[in-house]
Amino acid sequence: MKGTIKVANSLESLFIKAKPLLGTELARFPWAVEEGQVTQFQKSLHVDGVDFVSKREVPLAYSVSIGLWGLPHYALLKNIGLDVKNVVHGEQSFELIEPLQVGDSYVISQKLSSLFLKESSKYKQMLLLTIQSVVIDSHGTVFIRKNHTSIQLEQNE
């Protein structure tokens, strides 16, 4: 039916399935700040006139965006049974503790930090999952913390 997002399982059963995973740390994965990627980033945002790469600086927007869709995060959503293609972005918070640098390598660690099932007038139900990501270096120094809330919608028929 037009306007209906099909969800394989009811959101309530997905909520029950996901609940035991709350607080579990996901597999850490490496993240290298590559020059080409930063340049692509600048182009996609039309941030002109700032030569970040030669100064090894990273645009704020890049730091805000990285690691949102890392494989462990993606795998977690799939594992719970969410229809990843139909997940939308709800809210995001970001704290910069130390700036990243172009050419450096980091590790991203993530956990499922909160889980809510909500009802709304627009949608039948909404499942809200917040993943917290922490960007660290090889010494364990924390550079960035961010929360990223994904929403699986179940629309009214």
């Binding site: 692509q40 996609s44 927007a61 805000v64 130390e98 924390v142």
Partner: protein
């Protein structure tokens, strides 16, 4: 036991770890409560930018670039991933609030952004904190040309030079 990496996300003002950039600017003369950024119009965000951003960020949800897929779900077209305009808003704030450096930002994605839309970016200084560790708090927004809000955000920005000088960790040296 190893301390947890995870924690509540709030402005922590880790000024002592930031890049050391001397900013000999009295920013408290520049930013006052109620000051607004000059609104800036952007858009439309083209499919090319969406695909470039998908490649750079790793957000390959086809709902953002595959028209047939988006239509099969009942949407009139693809829509822009929230963090692309979110990132644009962050860069707008970075530029507006310079020479301060943004160290905290929280976005709320209020409504979908469609590729044909023109968007207006704005911001207002909500509070200036002038104590020994000065910073400002600002509200940011992105709205459609009809005035409807698409993204709301709050951010804080710090003065690296002043905070570095007043950093108790620095003062402990020698």
């Amino acid at each position: 036991m190893e301390p947890s990496l995870f924690g509540k996300i709030t402005p922590q003002f880790s000024w002592n770890k930031m890049n050391k950039k001397s900013k000999d600017v009295n920013w408290e003369q520049i930013f006052k409560e109620g000051d607004c950024a000059i609104e800036h119009q952007i858009g439309p965000i083209e499919l090319q930018s969406i695909v470039q951003y998908a490649g750079a960020s790793g957000d390959f949800n086809p709902i953002h670039f595959d028209q047939d897929f988006a239509r099969s779900l009942g949407f009139p077209s693809v829509f822009v991933m929230g963090m692309l305009p979110g990132a644009i808003l962050a860069e707008f704030a970075r530029d507006w609030l310079s020479p301060l450096q943004i160290n905290y930002i929280k976005f709320r994605f209020v409504d979908k952004i469609w590729p044909h839309e023109l968007l207006i970016l704005g911001g207002e200084v909500k509070q200036v904190y002038s104590d020994s560790l000065p910073f400002i708090e600002a509200h940011l927004w992105m709205k459609a040309s009809d005035g409807s809000i698409k993204i709301k955000a709050n951010c804080t920005a710090i003065d690296l030079a002043v905070n570095e000088k007043n950093d108790p960790l620095n003062n402990r040296k020698g």
